[in-house]
């Protein structure tokens, strides 16, 4: 396991953030997790702003866990902008949200999400989901080659 690889968690709810971090930790996923509190911050981390590059080196980024309901720039918009940028076009992005509404599912996949996970209410189920996520995206999945 490449311990240097970073996970970006885009989550506005501090409770959910703490629970996600706890779930990852419980599964012994020790990768660095960078947290963005809204869509704008996430875009800033990844793509940068005002000509400056993003704060996260994209080559070290394993996966983005993206909530849909976010302040400033919502999750679907973040997804669209990332897919429109050649640097993040192939970046693995997993939607991690409370909603299971059909329009959210359709919107997420249409905008280029790689996966869609509904946050379960039960923490045990959440821990299980986090385990699957970590195992799959950090171990099983072969990351895309970095765009030039």
């Amino acid at each position: 396991m490449d311990d240097k690889r970073i996970v970006l968690l885009v989550e506005d709810n501090p409770d959910d953030e703490a629970l996600t971090l706890r779930a990852l930790k419980k599964n012994n996923i020790l990768n660095e997790v960078v947290v963005a509190r809204d869509g704008a911050e996430a875009l800033d981390h990844l793509l940068g702003s005002n000509g400056k590059p993003g704060r996260i080196p994209l080559e070290h980024l394993a996966v983005v866990l993206l909530d849909l309901k976010l302040p400033k720039v919502n999750g679907l918009e973040v997804l669209r902008r990332l897919r429109a940028d050649p640097r993040t076009r192939r970046l693995p992005i997993v939607i991690l949200t409370s909603s299971k509404e059909e329009k959210d599912l359709v919107g997420a996949y249409d905008s280029g999400a790689n996966s869609y996970v509904q946050k379960p209410v039960e923490f045990s189920a959440f821990v299980e989901a986090a385990r699957h996520l970590g195992l799959y995206w950090l171990v099983t999945n072969a990351p895309p080659p970095m765009a030039g």
């Binding site: 629970l19 409370s98 299971k100 039960e122």
Partner: protein
């Protein structure tokens, strides 16, 4: 007469006028001419009779003295009358004694034709008048005078009369036509106007036009009545149009309101789905964290409290999901496909058996229940019904679940029957309400949304759902799909 019936009022009026006047004039003319002819003929006979008397008187001595020469002189005097074409004096033995012939080429033929008559008399033919008189001497007939006269004078007079009459007739008719042409307008014009307006109304549906014309007489009242009728129609049309516009406007308003309500509902369920879950997750998650991290510092009572908190959040999550499902069922579009309910029931039972391997349940599924409907919704309905049956037979030693259908008065009724806990019939109206439960959570866990969902799905398929049961004897939930259940039978025929 058909062509007369088809003619316009104008033509009819003129024809009637000409015909009536013409016939009257013709009859008058014929009567006058006939009378004239008769009088002319009488006059001619009288004149010729006088001439014959004169000849008879003058020719008497000639006959007595057998002097034909003197007789011919007497007869020659008839030359003065141009109408007399020939005359003859006969002796008593019918021998021609003396003759007068105007046109010598004709000879005495004219006289010969007319011989044989005695006494006094005349014969009026088409072209000539033959008149004869006896020549008497001392009461004894000694001879006979015959005068042949032509009728050219009468013919000429008659011809002139006819020409005059015809001219008068023609002139009178011309005058009659002119007068009736002018007069008919007062009668036919308003009728023609009325007909024109009626045609316009019927063709252009323009009820604002009005017939103009006189206001007196029958035509006047016709025009007035027609206009009143038009006014009434126009008013009714205006009212109808206004009512329709109002209705359309109301429909549009209601549609807008409905769309707004639908949007609100969608936003609401989205909000429920997303926002209600988040705090629940926190409560559950941190309760667990507390239980895990601080297990040693917690008393048994504290641990029990945490357990209850966690249990409640899980249940609340299920309630939220149930509510969302219910609203999704109401909003979902119903797709019409061929659905095999028997196969679906089989799959659902297999899933239930997999989920709870220890249970022994006898499941009877009737084959061939093929309907038209939405596969996902119908699966959800059956899942709820069979799931309920599965749940409520848990305490039975020999649990039995049956899915089947029956034809009842032209309608196919499907049912799911179990021999489980059953229910009190007096509560049957509460069965299909959302969050209505007839059993305690401890006894049979659930959120009370299953049958409400079933009812909505069945309603969306134009069907009905009802239940029959008794406590401890099981329950049967019946439902129909579509009007008359016709689709079921059709499918059967297609499948057979």
């Amino acid at each position: 007469m058909a062509s007369f019936s088809d003619a316009s009022v104008k033509v009819k009026l003129i024809l009637v006028s000409i015909l009536s006047k013409g016939v009257a004039l013709l009859v008058a003319g014929i009567v006058i001419t006939s009378l004239d002819l008769m009088s002319l003929r009488e006059k001619l006979v009288r004149r010729m009779s006088i001439q014959a008397d004169i000849v008879s008187a003058n020719g008497l001595s000639a006959l007595l003295f057998s002097d034909p020469k003197s007789a011919e002189t007497t007869l020659a005097a008839l030359k003065a009358d141009p109408r007399i074409r020939a005359a003859g004096l006969y002796a008593a033995d019918r021998r021609l004694f003396a003759t007068y012939v105007r046109d010598p080429s004709e000879g005495t033929r004219l006289l010969e034709d007319s011989l044989g008559d005695t006494g006094e008399g005349h014969r009026l033919g088409d072209h000539r008048l033959v008149l004869w008189r006896s020549v008497l001497f001392d009461g004894k007939t000694i001879g006979c005078v015959v005068i042949v006269s032509d009728l050219s004078e009468i013919t000429a007079t008659m011809t002139r009369d006819v020409v005059i009459f015809a001219s008068v007739l023609l002139g009178a008719l011309l005058i009659a036509v002119t007068i009736s042409w002018r007069l008919q307008r007062t009668i036919s014009q308003p009728i023609l106007d009325l007909a024109g307006v009626a045609r316009r109304v019927s063709q252009e549906k323009d009820y604002s036009v009005r017939a103009t014309g006189e206001s007196r007489g029958e035509i006047g009242s016709l025009v007035t009545a027609f206009n009143e009728m038009l006014e009434e129609i126009r008013q009714q049309e205006t009212e109808l149009r206004a009512a329709r516009d109002k209705l359309e406007q109301r429909v549009a308003e209601r549609t807008t309101q409905l769309q707004a309500a639908n949007r609100e509902l969608e936003a609401f369920s989205y909000s429920v789905s997303h926002d209600l879950r988040a705090p629940l997750r926190s409560i559950e998650g941190f309760s667990r964290a507390l239980a895990e991290d601080c297990a040693e510092g917690l008393s048994e009572s504290g641990k029990d409290s945490l357990k209850r908190i966690i249990g409640s959040t899980v249940r609340m999550g299920q309630l939220i999901d149930g509510l969302l499902n219910l609203s999704r069922v109401t909003r979902a579009e119903v797709r019409g496909r061929s659905v095999d309910l028997s196969a679906l029931a089989g799959e659902i039972v297999a899933e239930l058996r997999n989920g709870e391997e220890g249970r022994q349940v006898e499941c009877v599924i009737a084959r061939g229940a093929v309907v038209q409907g939405d596969p996902a919704l119908l699966r959800a309905a059956l899942q709820n019904l069979i799931g309920n049956a599965w749940k409520f037979t848990r305490k039975r030693a020999s649990a039995r679940i049956e899915f089947g259908y029956a034809e009842e008065s032209d309608e196919r009724t499907y049912f799911v029957r179990d021999n489980g806990a059953g229910f009190e019939m007096s509560y049957s109206d509460k069965l299909f309400g959302a969050f209505q439960r007839l059993h305690g959570q401890e006894e049979f866990p659930g959120i009370g949304i299953g049958l409400a969902t079933v009812q909505r799905i069945v309603t969306r398929h134009d069907g009905r759902v009802w239940a029959i049961g008794a406590p401890g004897e099981g329950a049967t939930v019946y439902f129909t799909l579509g009007k008359g259940g016709a689709n079921g039978r059709q499918e059967d025929r297609a499948a057979g």
